[in-house]
């Protein structure tokens, strides 16, 4: 039952609907395994201590920092990364809004923001600006000053509501 510290143990991670079988030591961060073993480099590493939010993915549908998760914990789990967001080449509502509102510059923090805020919008379909800022405060951006990102989230919320109406 105990996986030895230096054993490269086989795991199956279902990433964006596709099963990846990898063999890694228990200490391998999920962020590294997604990037190095599963070929999904859209998830970025900004700090490895859970503060910046750049590495946020969905674990079984809930946003989580992949740098605070060991891949071995996710055996059999379903993981969604930024690569899942633009189905068939079409940008999601939030991605499109970020584009239109110039809500990204260097783009390094962007995948983490998309993963976090799309999940948050599902829970909060009628957000206020204050609510958006609070929700966004778990993702650090050094380029944009946040304003255009906030506008994009609010705009996407309207768009999504319109679709549901």
């Amino acid at each position: 039952m105990i996986v030895d510290a230096s054993k490269k143990t086989p795991l199956t991670l279902v990433v964006n609907g596709q099963a990846h079988t990898v063999k890694v030591e228990p200490r391998r961060l999920l962020s590294d395994v997604l990037r190095d073993n599963c070929g999904q480099t859209g998830t970025h590493v900004g700090c490895e201590h859970g503060v910046c939010g750049a590495c946020t993915v969905l674990l079984d549908g809930r946003p989580a920092r992949s740098c605070l998760t060991y891949a071995v914990q996710m055996d059999g789990a379903s993981i969604e990364t930024i690569e899942s967001k633009s189905a068939a080449g079409k940008l999601s509502a939030l991605q499109q809004a970020l584009h239109e509102k110039h809500g990204l510059q260097c783009g390094f923090c962007t995948p983490g923001i998309v993963m976090t805020m799309e999940a948050w919008l599902k829970d909060n379909p009628e957000p206020t600006e204050e609510g958006v800022r609070e929700a966004l405060s778990g993702n650090i951006c050094r380029c944009t000053g946040y304003q255009n990102i906030v506008d994009a989230v609010l705009s996407a919320a309207k768009e999504l509501k319109g679709d549901r109406a």
Partner: protein, 282 residues
């Protein structure tokens, strides 16, 4: 920073988890990992064995047994904040949970993990102290219940013995009409508090009692009910007076980055508004 190597186990049952803890001195439990993993990634913590309890059934969720809420150790902060039973019977707990860290942190962080980590600035240890929570603990040797006031010992230190694991938390249900207040002071959204305060106002008239708990001032959260001046009337003057007394008299541990006089000033402001909130809500 990449962590040092560790062995890993993901037991499916509680007895297996306890047996692993008993058999390995340098084992640590991972629940949400939001506090433990940063320490491991920075190699500040280097457990030899990580016991992952996330697969164990029956350790999460909230139930009501008449006069207590019984909260499973794996209950995530987000779920605690949204839980109907908690919001009804201990709203301060739901509110405090909703303020922990950030949205993504709350999806993973757990109550058991937070209490076991025992950061004196954290929300749940503070609320645990305020509500006289009881922490139910198991090991291969048996089980015991530790009152909150005996659970938090010092900075990041609890009275858990080696091999012991938190399995649930019992929170006495608060009576209808109680008032509560919770405030924390931080410099930036989502940061740990530099000071936090939580208060309850229970009963009415001559039967009114007030509880006050403070966090981040010493190495564990503390109850300072005894420090409060006698309660005669629920008004802002009393709250102001009480805050002044508490800020002046409560022990404050020195901290290189936060000078004592400053911390007492924040404390005073925070305690005043917390007591006032509690009175207002009751």
């Amino acid at each position: 920073m990449k962590p040092a190597r560790f062995a890993y186990a993901s037991p499916a049952t509680l007895p297996e988890a306890l047996s692993l803890l008993a058999g390995h001195e340098d084992a640590r439990i991972i629940a949400g990992g939001q506090s433990l993993v940063p320490m491991m990634n920075m190699r500040i913590a280097q457990p030899e064995l990580l016991v992952d309890i996330n697969r164990i059934e029956g350790l999460s969720g909230v139930r009501f047994d008449g006069d207590h809420l019984v909260i499973g150790t794996l209950t995530r902060h987000a779920d605690l904040a949204a839980n109907g039973l908690v919001r009804e019977h201990a709203p301060i707990l739901a509110h405090a949970a909703s303020t922990i860290g950030h949205y993504a942190i709350r999806q993973r962080g757990t109550i058991g993990g937070s209490l076991s980590h025992a950061d004196p600035a954290a929300q749940l240890p503070l609320i645990g102290m305020l509500l006289d929570a009881e922490i139910e603990v198991k090991s291969t040797g048996g089980e015991r219940t530790i009152p909150a006031v005996e659970f938090f010992e010092a900075l990041f230190t609890t009275t858990l013995e080696p091999g012991e694991m938190v399995v649930s938390i019992r929170v006495p249900v608060l009576p209808n009409g109680h008032g509560w207040g919770f405030n924390l002071f931080n410099r930036r959204s989502g940061d740990f508090a530099e000071v936090n305060a939580a208060a309850l106002v229970l009963g009415q008239g001559a039967e009114t009692s007030v509880r006050l708990a403070l966090g981040a001032v010493v190495s564990a959260p503390v109850r300072v009910d005894d420090m409060l001046p006698p309660f005669n009337e629920a008004n802002s003057a009393w709250a102001a007076e009480a805050a002044k007394v508490v800020a002046a008299e409560t022990p404050v541990e020195p901290n290189a980055r936060i000078p004592e006089d400053y911390r007492r000033e924040i404390l005073q402001a925070l305690v005043e508004s917390t007591l006032f909130d509690a009175m207002r809500r009751s």
